[in-house]
Symmetry: C2
Subunit: 311 residues, 2 copies
């Protein structure tokens, strides 16, 4: 029997029919032009029908949805989903009514970690630290084969550990968070601030002076060319990220550290610095126990994991 | 049915008969004058007999031993116990042979956390972060009622996260570890270094110039009196400790943070700063979910927890 996995992002929803071993039988994608909960439910229902039809399988056992946001435990209520502008949406129930089957709503990083554990870079291990650096910074801890959820399901918020006393303002309202230095949005914001100040930098030539073309990959390219502005932003970011992850490896003693997310995918130098940081800064015992890998399912970790969490 | 709990320290071993609810029926203590494994087994056997006799109960179901050190999983082999000077000692088997019953050897902090979870400040919760600051700094994470052990049982090494790039040398051989600034041994070492440099400080008067009278409590007293040397050491230590613990609260989202250990017990100001640090620096979600408490079983957390882990 296969299950339905949904990856609910800020601009697209993807649906896939996934077998127990993590194989995707069929997938469909819908743009979220209207982000009201009703319209999103409609788009997902449509994508799900398309995927079921394309897969040509019989009845689907369950449905799991991974969403970037804060959930009210296992109730299916999304407390806050910043990308969608949602607050207190009983999304699980709405989708279950539309699909006519039970729906489990989970955090997107928990879904991704679960996918990697069962069908990706975590296969065969029971203790993982999964770190995704995209527009934000998040992690998921797997201990003895189980997701560490915390008292209200918010464990893993690595992006909001404090790395600088009274540092950069973070989107969360606090200062000095790791994400304020390392998250994709904030890498770009720091480059834009430098450009706006009119400081001479290779970033201007690399982007034709267009701030919309600033990306983490451009930052890495300029840093490699020893541009001082880019180097400053880049070295600060990788420094904090590498120590933060090494410290989590020290405390959690995982068998595998799995790196994913857009920033780490498109800035391979940063990905390498994370591995070097673990080798240099994690405790002797923990660093000897850990294998550092990349998310093997790439963009599909969360889609596959959401489906597997529904079984 | 009751079980036997053993707390194996560097200078004493304690044995107790403990009921399922954590009540100590009887306890005995033996000084470890000879720290060879054979002598320690002998001392524990003696203390255990004394405790069993004093408790006047029938057959004892099992035996759990908490020891400060690195274990080889559940084999009962102690890989390294620095306080005892042991390496690769098959202690579980040796003690089981002597006592004529099965023995489970666990990490001392895991034992303490388990004791607090079932009979102390963690009762009724399922997600705990237990932090002990004594001569060293250690922690134990409980997730959904289970101890987070890590790939080779070394999870929780909070003392060896890096807080300063190229900082103070730590006993572990790495530099800049939290423990190098905050552990009791290192607090004393830093005060002694200041005294040896002949720097004028209130610590001289408070100890009569005797370095053997330097303690974390003396440090706190001198810091309260605004002695610059003491303040420097103290503020540095509490600053790193508070942020480190707040960051772990952010990542783990525990229902309770339980503080214990000699330094936090005898330096109440430091204990208070930990609570203030969590309120100031933990993520908004995680700090609102956590209750900050003291270890309720005091010195008996590990003794009781070791017994309860043997059931």
């Amino acid at each position: 029997l296969a299950t339905l996995g949904i990856d609910l992002g800020g601009t697209f929803a993807r649906a896939a029919i996934v077998e127990k071993d993590g194989t995707i039988l069929a997938a469909a994608k819908m743009a979220l032009t209207d982000r009201t909960p009703e319209a999103v439910v409609h788009a997902i229902t449509q994508a799900s029908r398309d995927a079921v039809t394309a897969a040509g399988v019989g009845p689907i056992e369950g449905c799991g949805v991974g969403v970037a946001g804060q959930l009210r435990g296992e109730t299916g209520v999304i407390a806050i989903a910043p990308n969608l502008g949602w607050r207190e949406v009983p999304f699980g129930q709405m989708l279950a009514d539309a699909l006519g089957r039970p729906v489990r709503v989970v955090n997107d990083l928990a879904a991704a970690a679960w996918g990697e554990l069962h069908a990706g870079a975590g296969k065969g291990a029971r203790d993982l630290l999964v770190v995704f650096v995209g527009s934000g910074v998040g992690s998921c801890i797997i201990s003895n084969g189980q997701i560490v959820r915390g008292a209200n399901g918010m464990a893993g918020e690595l992006g909001h550990i404090k790395v600088v006393a009274n540092g950069r303002m973070c989107g969360c309202g606090q200062k000095g968070c790791l994400e304020a230095y390392v998250g994709g949005h904030n890498l770009i914001a720091q480059m834009r601030e430098a450009l706006e100040q009119g400081r001479p930098t290779a970033l201007t030539a690399l982007t034709g002076g267009d701030p919309l073309r600033l990306t983490p990959a451009v930052l890495e390219e300029a840093a490699r060319a020893n541009d001082p502005i880019a180097l400053g932003i880049y070295e600060t970011a990788v420094g904090y990220l590498a120590v933060a992850i090494a410290n989590q490896v020290t405390v959690l003693n995982p068998a595998r550290l799995i790196r994913g997310g857009g920033v780490l995918t498109h800035a391979p130098g940063m990905r390498a610095k994370v591995a070097e940081g673990v080798a240099a800064f994690a405790s002797v015992t923990s660093r000897s126990a850990v294998t550092v890998l990349e998310a093997a399912l790439r963009d599909d970790s969360g889609l596959i994991g959401a489906a597997l969490l529904a079984t």
